[in-house]
Amino acid sequence: MTNPSDASASEQPGANGQSLAGRYYGRSIPYLPIDGYPGKLFVVEGTDGVGRSTQIQLLREWLEVKGYGVVETGWTRSPLMQPTIEIAKSSNTLNKLTFVLLYATDFADRLEKEIIPALKAGFVVLSDRYIFTALARAGVRGVDRQWLRNLYGFAIAPHIVFYLNIDVKTLSRRVLESRGMDFWESGMDLKTGDDIYDSFRAYQRSLLREYSSMADEFHFRVVDARRSIDRIQDELRRQVAAYLEPAEKPTEPALAR
């Protein structure tokens, strides 16, 4: 999907050396050319319970106050697929392959119906999770990595991917304090054991390993998620501002006079 040598020919200084930003990663959707769309796609990635939604909500308010039009999207939130995915999860018929394909269908639907139209209209799109969650989950379940990357070749490379990084110990406590551990987030379908706590730790540990193995490949901006909500938000805002308004700083004093 990405080739490290492709990234060397950077044309957007703010794109973290990522010349692909705003384009398809691999084989495009031929009937949807997307070159030159004015919108920006910012992704917040990270495992379950790491605090993504909180950060996105704060980022959204801040961007809207600054006058940007913001559209949010999140994993399995497509109106077309969400009910189907819930039904499939609640029955025990879900094979890892069908699991992957259901998620991909959901993503394709949101890409065509939400993300691409919003980028075309100049919105800032904030995505709570992106294809990397799918790649990590499927990778842990032993699905062929190259096949997965080909499958998601129709995804648009984001302008920035923030990866909220955390350790399993902190994560376990945080999840237990808030809503407790759930079946899927604990990887209970992998049947490594009956104990949900042990399963959660083992599963999240391998998920985190998958995420960090993608950090270079997909130019993640790694953010330490063990800090306070405000500190993390400050860092996200700083980086988003630097990306959106690299030329704004010098002009401000002139206007003030």
Binding site: I29, N95, L97, L101, D109
Partner: protein, 163 residues
């Protein structure tokens, strides 16, 4: 894309539950349509050809694939005679090529047939001329199938477990 992926999901489910287990048990599986349908239909809808092939790379390669080829007019006549109304997606009405279902069907399925012609080459599909009599077609099918079954029978025998 969603259309393509939904079909792939359905296919994966059937492959894993209905196709692979009987194959493992040494049984004969007859599939009415297979991944080739997706290759032809999705390409006609504008999805990248190579992407669809890679998507379906988890499919089992059939031992024998029969392609019943029929001219577009014969196809329309047969469908109209049977149920009077063409299905929305079968006629490619979602593509907006024509407001007339029959016209749209001919345009869309015409393109689908062109795709199939490429697939015949690429995947070595056995073409059966489906405009002819049913008896003639069935004889040819039986001949082709029995060739396959005879080739594999010896393997099955040696595979039997003792009771």
């Amino acid at each position: 894309m969603t259309f393509s992926l939904l079909h792939a999901t359905d296919f994966a489910d059937r492959l894993l539950y209905k196709i692979i287990p009987p194959l493992k048990a040494g049984m004969v599986v007859l599939a009415d349509r297979y991944a080739y349908t997706a290759f032809a239909r999705d390409a006609t809808r504008g999805v990248d050809r190579q992407w669809v092939r890679e998507l379906y790379s988890f499919a089992v390669r059939p031992d024998l694939s029969l392609y019943f080829r029929v001219p577009i007019d014969v196809s329309v006549d047969r469908l109209l005679a049977r149920r009077m109304k063409l299905k929305f997606y079968e006629a490619g009405m979602d593509l907006g090529w024509s407001t007339s279902p029959v016209e749209s069907f001919k345009l869309f399925q015409g393109k689908v047939l062109e795709e199939y012609d490429h697939l015949v080459q690429e995947f070595g599909l056995q073409v059966i001329e489906a405009a002819g009599s049913i008896t003639d077609q069935q004889r040819l099918v039986r001949m082709l199938v029995s060739q396959q079954v005879q080739m594999t029978r010896s393997v099955e025998m040696s595979d039997d477990e003792s009771i």
